[in-house]
Structure formats: C-alpha cells, structure tokens
Symmetry: C2
Subunit: 207 residues, 2 copies
Amino acid sequence: MPDASPTKSRILDAAEELFGDHGYAATTLRAVTEAAGANVAAVNYHFGSKEGLLRAVVRRAMESVNAERERRLDELTAAGTPPGVGDLVRTFVGTGASLVRRHGPRGPRVARFVGRVVCEPDPRIRRIFADEVSPVEGRYRTALAAALPELPADEVTFRYRAMIGLLALHQSGTLTGLSPDTSPTGPETDTERLITLLTTAFTAPRT
Amino acid sequence: MPDASPTKSRILDAAEELFGDHGYAATTLRAVTEAAGANVAAVNYHFGSKEGLLRAVVRRAMESVNAERERRLDELTAAGTPPGVGDLVRTFVGTGASLVRRHGPRGPRVARFVGRVVCEPDPRIRRIFADEVSPVEGRYRTALAAALPELPADEVTFRYRAMIGLLALHQSGTLTGLSPDTSPTGPETDTERLITLLTTAFTAPRT
DNA sequence: GTCTATACGAAGATAGAC
DNA sequence: GTCTATCTTCGTATAGAC
C-alpha cells in the first residue's frame, strides 16, 4: 500500500535524514516538520508521538532487509548441508550493508540512520529497533549456534551481539573515522574487512 | 588538587550517574542540579555549559585510565622484545574494564557513563572524548601496527576502531543484553570473551 | 480523514542581584 | 560564588478548517 498521504511520506523522509544526521534526541520535531513542509502537529496526528515517528522510520528502513535476510537464510538452509559461519556472517553483514543499494537515492541516508539507531544506548530506542528485527534475528542466532556446536550458547550470543554492534558502527561511519568521507578505501572494502574480522572472531576458541 | 567547591564535586557525581543512566541528551540540567542539591545556574557557572560539564566528567573518568594505559604500555615496551597483539589487546581492554575497580564505589557508574559516551554518535560528543584519550590512543595504534607488520596500516586502524567500539559496547552493557543485569555470567567472563574475540580478530588474514 | 493554527508546561541558557 | 528572574525553544495537546 503506497502512502495515502504525501505529508506523511515527506515527514518520514525528513525524519530519516535528520535522525541520521543529528541523532534522535538532538532532532527537534519542528526541524522535521519544517523540512517536510508540514505543521508540527502533523506528526502527532500521523504517528502519535516523536517515538511513534521513530518506529515508523525504523520499520520502513528495515522491512526489506528483514525480508532479504529471511530469503537468503532460507536459501542457505535449503542447500542440504547446514550453513557455515562464513556464509552466515557474509549473508547477515552483506544484507545489512546492502541497505545503501536497496533504498535507491535514499540509501546512504537510511544506512546512516539505522547505524545510529542501533548504537543508541537509550533502552526505549533499542527496544523499538529490537521489535522490528527480532524474528529474523532469532533465526540467525540459532543457525550460528548450530554452526558452532563446540561453543557455549551464551558465548555465541555474546559474539552475535558483537556482530550486531560492529555492523551498526560500520553503517554509522564510526569504524571508518570521525568524518564520513575520510575513508581512503571504498565502503565495499570496509564491508569485506568487517566480514573477515567477524568470521575469524566467531571461530575463536571458547573462553 | 581537590575540588575547591563541594557543589562542583557533587554536580560532577550527579552528572556522571545521570548521563550514564539516561544518556547525555536525555539528561536535563535540572535533574543534575536537583540530584546534587544545587541550583540550575551553578553548572553554567562552574562548567560554562552542559557540554563543558560533560567534558569535565569525561576527564575525571579517563585520566586514571590514560595514566595506567601509558604505564602498562611502557612496561610492555621496556621488556626488550616488542609486545605482541595479545598483550596489547589484553592491556588495553583490561585497563578499560578496570574502570570499575579504579573508581571505588563509583566504579560501575563510571564504566556505564564512559561506555555510553564512546557509543554516542553525536560528533561533538565524540570529539570531547577523543580529545581526552588521543595521546595514548596513538601509542597503542602504533604498537599494534608494529605487532602486525603484514597488515596494511589502514586495516590495523579499522580493527583498532572495532576494538574501541566493542569495548565501549561492552562497558555500556550492550553486549550482555538490553537490561544491565541479565547476564548469566559475570563481567570478568565477558571481558575475557572480549579479549579472546579481539585478539583473534586482529590476527585474521588481511583483506 | 487530513491537516493547520495555536496554546501549554518544561527544558537549557543568560543577565544581573546579592 | 550563588541564586533569582527571564528568554527562547522543546514535545505535546486541543480545536477547528477543509
């Protein structure tokens, strides 16, 4: 269903950009509605609250990633032999990094926004994101545990969370530097480096 | 030099706790001064601004960590043979995790605060933290590059930033779960797991 | 149903009294 | 040094135009 309201859609676009650029708490609703060419009260009408607006932006950004992660995990498990750690990490990280391509011209903005939301320490914001990705997250964690039978379940969880965190830092540009465009190498190189780092980290001996 | 003003000291304590619990942006100056039993304008007088208060809290939290990181790196390099990756990672991560012990009863609060600040995506906040740790940070990065001669310099930097990021996520409790006390294992176990993960990750093949 | 105009209480910052 | 008063701006709530 395409957006019934053009105002609603413009507010989503503006919030996505401003939340990603300045963070959730530092972004004022007035800045969002001004950029969207709408009135302040419109966000309360369409999304209920500032938090409701955040949830809507997260959902729009993540639903296609969730779908592709499901699809590729289905492919991996349908192949007969259970997927290895390398395949799982590459699929998960690669799908996350493919946010940029998936959202067309809005791609870089979406990636920056998502990376920033995942790093957010506020429990309420973390909860909103967790709600949107928890189904597929559970499937990957189970598959990783199966691929690492010698590793205790809680250490798998520990490393899984490290993967989520590093992917988020990668997407928000923290891993490449303070300024977004200081990286001498391209973003694909960093993604490959992240996959290498994480795959090796997962196969570390148990502690 | 002990604090000239008891009000100033109480404001630092209160800000450390509230910034760590609710994040910088979500913490109101009124909540800080109320918890400190002082007037709202006292923080503006003593620290210039909310940002100045943050810088003061960061400095008080990190100066002993910086000092111990310097000291232990001196020990490591004075031993004759250049330090290996495992020693460097263990020293760096262990020193960061020792925040808890180093600040006595305030320890857990300081660790939560620091972890949260490092994860903060706001460039101004990141800059404040970077200012306080940059000298010793440079020394560790150089030592890591020397211990990994086969790795390109920018990939060392990439993995170094991953270490900083994961240490921060570890200290803010993101790696152990959404709620702070859900971890079935103790914090030392998680620190050991982090050291294992990072040491293995550093020695991954170049990409 | 969609949206705008506007008002309310609370927050951060500042100036000046003491 | 510390506090009071005040200014601007924030998120939210209400009422009504179309």
